[in-house]
Symmetry: C2
Subunit: 159 residues, 2 copies
Protein backbone atom coordinates (compact mmCIF):
# COMPACT_ATOMS: atom_id res chain seq x y z
CA UNK A 1 0.00 0.00 0.00
CA UNK A 2 1.24 3.44 -0.96
CA UNK A 3 2.08 5.59 2.08
CA UNK A 4 -0.31 8.21 0.70
CA UNK A 5 -3.20 5.78 1.14
CA UNK A 6 -2.85 6.11 4.88
CA UNK A 7 -3.61 9.82 4.92
CA UNK A 8 -7.06 10.91 6.04
CA UNK A 9 -9.22 11.95 3.08
CA UNK A 10 -10.20 15.36 4.43
CA UNK A 11 -7.55 17.50 6.07
CA UNK A 12 -8.81 19.56 8.95
CA UNK A 13 -7.29 22.75 10.23
CA UNK A 14 -6.89 22.55 13.98
CA UNK A 15 -7.75 25.84 15.72
CA UNK A 16 -4.68 25.40 17.90
CA UNK A 17 -2.45 25.52 14.82
CA UNK A 18 -1.16 29.07 15.10
CA UNK A 19 0.71 29.65 11.91
CA UNK A 20 -1.02 30.45 8.63
CA UNK A 21 1.81 28.80 6.71
CA UNK A 22 1.03 25.54 8.48
CA UNK A 23 -2.71 26.06 8.06
CA UNK A 24 -2.30 26.56 4.32
CA UNK A 25 -0.11 23.50 4.03
CA UNK A 26 -2.77 21.35 5.66
CA UNK A 27 -5.18 22.33 2.90
CA UNK A 28 -2.86 22.80 -0.08
CA UNK A 29 0.40 21.13 0.74
CA UNK A 30 -0.39 17.46 0.40
CA UNK A 31 1.41 15.73 -2.40
CA UNK A 32 -0.42 16.28 -5.73
CA UNK A 33 -2.68 19.07 -4.46
CA UNK A 34 -0.59 21.97 -5.83
CA UNK A 35 -0.29 20.16 -9.16
CA UNK A 36 -4.06 19.56 -9.33
CA UNK A 37 -4.64 23.26 -8.66
CA UNK A 38 -2.07 24.08 -11.33
CA UNK A 39 -4.03 22.01 -13.87
CA UNK A 40 -7.26 23.84 -13.00
CA UNK A 41 -5.49 27.19 -13.31
CA UNK A 42 -4.22 26.07 -16.72
CA UNK A 43 -7.79 25.35 -17.79
CA UNK A 44 -7.90 21.55 -17.46
CA UNK A 45 -11.13 20.82 -15.63
CA UNK A 46 -12.08 17.23 -16.35
CA UNK A 47 -11.13 14.27 -14.20
CA UNK A 48 -9.67 12.33 -17.12
CA UNK A 49 -7.66 15.34 -18.36
CA UNK A 50 -6.11 15.94 -14.94
CA UNK A 51 -5.44 12.24 -14.41
CA UNK A 52 -3.73 11.81 -17.76
CA UNK A 53 -1.67 14.99 -17.53
CA UNK A 54 -0.39 14.22 -14.03
CA UNK A 55 -0.05 10.46 -14.46
CA UNK A 56 -1.79 10.00 -11.12
CA UNK A 57 -3.81 6.91 -10.18
CA UNK A 58 -7.59 7.43 -10.43
CA UNK A 59 -8.31 6.47 -6.83
CA UNK A 60 -5.63 8.84 -5.53
CA UNK A 61 -6.88 11.69 -7.73
CA UNK A 62 -10.45 11.06 -6.51
CA UNK A 63 -9.33 11.34 -2.95
CA UNK A 64 -7.35 14.52 -3.55
CA UNK A 65 -10.27 16.13 -5.40
CA UNK A 66 -12.61 15.20 -2.54
CA UNK A 67 -10.24 16.74 -0.01
CA UNK A 68 -9.87 19.96 -2.02
CA UNK A 69 -13.65 20.11 -2.45
CA UNK A 70 -14.20 19.59 1.28
CA UNK A 71 -11.72 22.39 1.95
CA UNK A 72 -13.71 24.73 -0.31
CA UNK A 73 -10.86 25.25 -2.75
CA UNK A 74 -12.57 23.60 -5.73
CA UNK A 75 -16.15 22.65 -6.57
CA UNK A 76 -17.89 20.25 -8.91
CA UNK A 77 -19.99 21.85 -11.61
CA UNK A 78 -22.28 20.01 -14.03
CA UNK A 79 -21.85 20.83 -17.69
CA UNK A 80 -23.34 19.43 -20.87
CA UNK A 81 -22.02 19.48 -24.39
CA UNK A 82 -24.63 19.38 -27.22
CA UNK A 83 -25.76 15.81 -27.81
CA UNK A 84 -23.90 14.45 -24.77
CA UNK A 85 -25.03 13.50 -21.32
CA UNK A 86 -24.41 15.84 -18.41
CA UNK A 87 -20.89 15.56 -16.96
CA UNK A 88 -18.99 16.98 -14.04
CA UNK A 89 -16.03 19.29 -14.17
CA UNK A 90 -13.96 20.83 -11.42
CA UNK A 91 -13.78 24.60 -11.01
CA UNK A 92 -11.70 26.74 -8.70
CA UNK A 93 -13.60 28.62 -6.00
CA UNK A 94 -12.46 32.15 -5.04
CA UNK A 95 -10.05 30.66 -2.48
CA UNK A 96 -8.70 28.30 -5.14
CA UNK A 97 -8.17 31.22 -7.48
CA UNK A 98 -6.29 33.04 -4.70
CA UNK A 99 -3.91 30.08 -4.54
CA UNK A 100 -2.49 31.27 -7.88
CA UNK A 101 -0.19 33.54 -5.88
CA UNK A 102 1.27 30.50 -4.12
CA UNK A 103 1.68 28.62 -7.40
CA UNK A 104 3.31 31.69 -8.97
CA UNK A 105 5.71 32.01 -6.03
CA UNK A 106 6.67 28.32 -6.25
CA UNK A 107 7.10 28.59 -10.01
CA UNK A 108 9.27 31.71 -9.80
CA UNK A 109 11.50 30.13 -7.16
CA UNK A 110 11.87 26.99 -9.29
CA UNK A 111 12.68 29.07 -12.38
CA UNK A 112 15.52 30.73 -10.48
CA UNK A 113 16.85 28.11 -8.13
CA UNK A 114 15.99 24.73 -9.62
CA UNK A 115 15.95 25.70 -13.31
CA UNK A 116 15.57 23.15 -16.04
CA UNK A 117 18.17 23.19 -18.83
CA UNK A 118 15.69 24.40 -21.45
CA UNK A 119 14.38 27.31 -19.42
CA UNK A 120 10.97 27.73 -17.78
CA UNK A 121 8.09 25.74 -19.24
CA UNK A 122 5.52 28.32 -18.21
CA UNK A 123 5.60 32.11 -18.34
CA UNK A 124 3.65 34.54 -16.19
CA UNK A 125 2.28 37.34 -18.34
CA UNK A 126 -0.19 40.21 -18.04
CA UNK A 127 -3.40 39.32 -19.84
CA UNK A 128 -3.71 42.56 -21.81
CA UNK A 129 -0.23 44.17 -21.90
CA UNK A 130 1.69 40.85 -22.16
CA UNK A 131 4.21 42.22 -19.60
CA UNK A 132 6.27 39.62 -17.79
CA UNK A 133 5.02 39.19 -14.22
CA UNK A 134 6.79 38.35 -10.99
CA UNK A 135 5.58 37.51 -7.49
CA UNK A 136 6.68 39.92 -4.78
CA UNK A 137 5.79 41.59 -1.52
CA UNK A 138 3.82 44.79 -2.10
CA UNK A 139 2.42 47.60 0.02
CA UNK A 140 -1.30 48.43 0.34
CA UNK A 141 -0.72 50.85 -2.54
CA UNK A 142 0.46 47.98 -4.73
CA UNK A 143 4.13 48.95 -4.87
CA UNK A 144 6.68 46.13 -4.75
CA UNK A 145 9.24 46.18 -1.93
CA UNK A 146 12.63 44.42 -1.89
CA UNK A 147 12.86 41.23 0.18
CA UNK A 148 15.36 42.87 2.53
CA UNK A 149 12.65 45.33 3.57
CA UNK A 150 10.23 42.56 4.56
CA UNK A 151 9.85 41.84 8.23
CA UNK A 152 7.76 39.02 9.72
CA UNK A 153 6.63 39.90 13.21
CA UNK A 154 4.55 38.09 15.81
CA UNK A 155 1.08 39.66 15.99
CA UNK A 156 1.22 39.43 19.77
CA UNK A 157 4.00 42.05 19.85
CA UNK A 158 1.94 44.68 17.99
CA UNK A 159 -0.18 47.13 19.99
Amino acid sequence: MDAAELEPPTPTVDDAMLCSIERSLVVLGERWSPLILRELHYGNHRFSEIRDRLGIASNLLSRRLQALTAAGVIEQVAYQEPGSRSRLRYELTPSGRDALVILGALQQWGDRHAPRPDGPSVLRRHRTTDDELHVAFVTDAGIAVPLDDVRMIAASTVA
Copy 2:
Protein backbone atom coordinates in the same frame (compact mmCIF):
# COMPACT_ATOMS: atom_id res chain seq x y z
CA MET B 1 8.42 3.09 11.18
CA ASP B 2 7.12 6.50 10.23
CA ALA B 3 6.24 6.79 6.54
CA ALA B 4 8.61 9.78 6.34
CA GLU B 5 11.53 7.48 7.15
CA LEU B 6 11.14 5.86 3.77
CA GLU B 7 11.83 9.06 1.85
CA PRO B 8 15.26 9.49 0.30
CA PRO B 9 17.38 11.96 2.31
CA THR B 10 18.31 14.20 -0.64
CA PRO B 11 15.64 15.15 -3.11
CA THR B 12 16.88 15.47 -6.66
CA VAL B 13 15.32 17.52 -9.38
CA ASP B 14 14.92 15.43 -12.51
CA ASP B 15 15.74 17.39 -15.67
CA ALA B 16 12.70 15.85 -17.33
CA MET B 17 10.45 17.48 -14.75
CA LEU B 18 9.09 20.34 -16.80
CA CYS B 19 7.21 22.45 -14.33
CA SER B 20 8.93 24.84 -11.95
CA ILE B 21 6.11 24.37 -9.44
CA GLU B 22 6.95 20.69 -9.29
CA ARG B 23 10.68 21.39 -9.22
CA SER B 24 10.25 23.73 -6.27
CA LEU B 25 8.11 21.24 -4.43
CA VAL B 26 10.81 18.59 -4.75
CA VAL B 27 13.19 20.89 -2.90
CA LEU B 28 10.87 22.79 -0.56
CA GLY B 29 7.62 20.88 -0.41
CA GLU B 30 8.47 17.93 1.78
CA ARG B 31 6.67 17.85 5.06
CA TRP B 32 8.50 20.06 7.62
CA SER B 33 10.73 21.82 5.09
CA PRO B 34 8.59 24.99 4.80
CA LEU B 35 8.29 25.14 8.58
CA ILE B 36 12.06 24.78 9.03
CA LEU B 37 12.59 27.62 6.55
CA ARG B 38 9.99 29.66 8.44
CA GLU B 39 11.98 29.22 11.66
CA LEU B 40 15.19 30.38 9.96
CA HIS B 41 13.36 33.39 8.52
CA TYR B 42 12.09 34.16 12.01
CA GLY B 43 15.66 34.13 13.29
CA ASN B 44 15.83 30.73 14.95
CA HIS B 45 19.08 29.20 13.75
CA ARG B 46 20.09 26.52 16.22
CA PHE B 47 19.18 22.85 15.88
CA SER B 48 17.75 22.67 19.40
CA GLU B 49 15.67 25.85 18.93
CA ILE B 50 14.15 24.59 15.69
CA ARG B 51 13.52 21.12 17.14
CA ASP B 52 11.82 22.47 20.24
CA ARG B 53 9.71 25.04 18.42
CA LEU B 54 8.47 22.57 15.82
CA GLY B 55 8.18 19.57 18.12
CA ILE B 56 9.94 17.47 15.49
CA ALA B 57 12.01 14.36 16.25
CA SER B 58 15.77 14.99 16.19
CA ASN B 59 16.52 12.33 13.59
CA LEU B 60 13.82 13.65 11.26
CA LEU B 61 15.02 17.25 11.68
CA SER B 62 18.62 16.13 10.94
CA ARG B 63 17.51 14.51 7.74
CA ARG B 64 15.48 17.53 6.62
CA LEU B 65 18.34 19.92 7.39
CA GLN B 66 20.72 17.68 5.42
CA ALA B 67 18.33 17.66 2.46
CA LEU B 68 17.89 21.45 2.52
CA THR B 69 21.68 21.87 2.79
CA ALA B 70 22.26 19.50 -0.14
CA ALA B 71 19.73 21.52 -2.13
CA GLY B 72 21.67 24.72 -1.42
CA VAL B 73 18.79 26.38 0.44
CA ILE B 74 20.52 26.53 3.83
CA GLU B 75 24.11 26.19 5.03
CA GLN B 76 25.87 25.36 8.26
CA VAL B 77 27.93 28.16 9.75
CA ALA B 78 30.24 27.84 12.73
CA TYR B 79 29.80 30.42 15.47
CA GLN B 80 31.27 30.86 18.90
CA GLU B 81 29.95 32.71 21.90
CA PRO B 82 32.54 34.12 24.35
CA GLY B 83 33.74 31.40 26.68
CA SER B 84 31.91 28.62 24.80
CA ARG B 85 33.06 26.04 22.33
CA SER B 86 32.40 26.53 18.63
CA ARG B 87 28.91 25.53 17.55
CA LEU B 88 27.00 25.21 14.33
CA ARG B 89 23.99 27.21 13.28
CA TYR B 90 21.94 27.08 10.12
CA GLU B 91 21.68 30.11 7.84
CA LEU B 92 19.59 30.72 4.77
CA THR B 93 21.48 30.98 1.48
CA PRO B 94 20.29 33.50 -1.15
CA SER B 95 17.90 30.87 -2.58
CA GLY B 96 16.58 30.19 0.93
CA ARG B 97 15.99 33.89 1.43
CA ASP B 98 14.11 34.00 -1.89
CA ALA B 99 11.77 31.34 -0.49
CA LEU B 100 10.33 34.06 1.77
CA VAL B 101 7.99 34.94 -1.11
CA ILE B 102 6.58 31.39 -1.04
CA LEU B 103 6.19 31.46 2.74
CA GLY B 104 4.51 34.88 2.52
CA ALA B 105 2.11 33.60 -0.15
CA LEU B 106 1.21 30.54 1.93
CA GLN B 107 0.76 32.71 5.01
CA GLN B 108 -1.44 35.23 3.24
CA TRP B 109 -3.64 32.47 1.81
CA GLY B 110 -3.98 30.88 5.25
CA ASP B 111 -4.83 34.24 6.83
CA ARG B 112 -7.69 34.65 4.34
CA HIS B 113 -8.96 31.17 3.69
CA ALA B 114 -8.07 29.06 6.70
CA PRO B 115 -8.05 31.78 9.38
CA ARG B 116 -7.63 31.00 13.02
CA PRO B 117 -10.24 32.41 15.40
CA ASP B 118 -7.80 34.85 17.03
CA GLY B 119 -6.53 36.31 13.78
CA PRO B 120 -3.11 35.89 12.16
CA SER B 121 -0.20 34.98 14.42
CA VAL B 122 2.33 36.71 12.19
CA LEU B 123 2.18 40.01 10.34
CA ARG B 124 4.10 41.03 7.24
CA ARG B 125 5.43 44.56 7.63
CA HIS B 126 7.83 46.91 5.89
CA ARG B 127 11.04 47.13 7.88
CA THR B 128 11.27 50.92 7.89
CA THR B 129 7.78 52.28 7.17
CA ASP B 130 5.91 49.54 9.10
CA ASP B 131 3.38 49.36 6.21
CA GLU B 132 1.38 46.17 6.01
CA LEU B 133 2.65 43.98 3.16
CA HIS B 134 0.92 41.55 0.82
CA VAL B 135 2.16 39.06 -1.75
CA ALA B 136 1.03 39.72 -5.31
CA PHE B 137 1.89 39.49 -8.96
CA VAL B 138 3.82 42.56 -10.12
CA THR B 139 5.18 43.93 -13.40
CA ASP B 140 8.88 44.53 -14.11
CA ALA B 141 8.24 48.08 -12.89
CA GLY B 142 7.09 46.71 -9.52
CA ILE B 143 3.41 47.57 -9.88
CA ALA B 144 0.91 45.04 -8.53
CA VAL B 145 -1.63 43.60 -10.97
CA PRO B 146 -4.98 42.00 -10.07
CA LEU B 147 -5.15 38.20 -10.21
CA ASP B 148 -7.67 38.35 -13.06
CA ASP B 149 -5.00 39.96 -15.23
CA VAL B 150 -2.53 37.13 -14.66
CA ARG B 151 -2.10 34.61 -17.43
CA MET B 152 0.04 31.47 -17.28
CA ILE B 153 1.18 30.48 -20.73
CA ALA B 154 3.31 27.62 -22.04
CA ALA B 155 6.75 28.93 -23.00
CA SER B 156 6.64 26.78 -26.13
CA THR B 157 3.81 28.93 -27.53
CA VAL B 158 5.84 32.18 -27.30
CA ALA B 159 7.92 33.23 -30.30
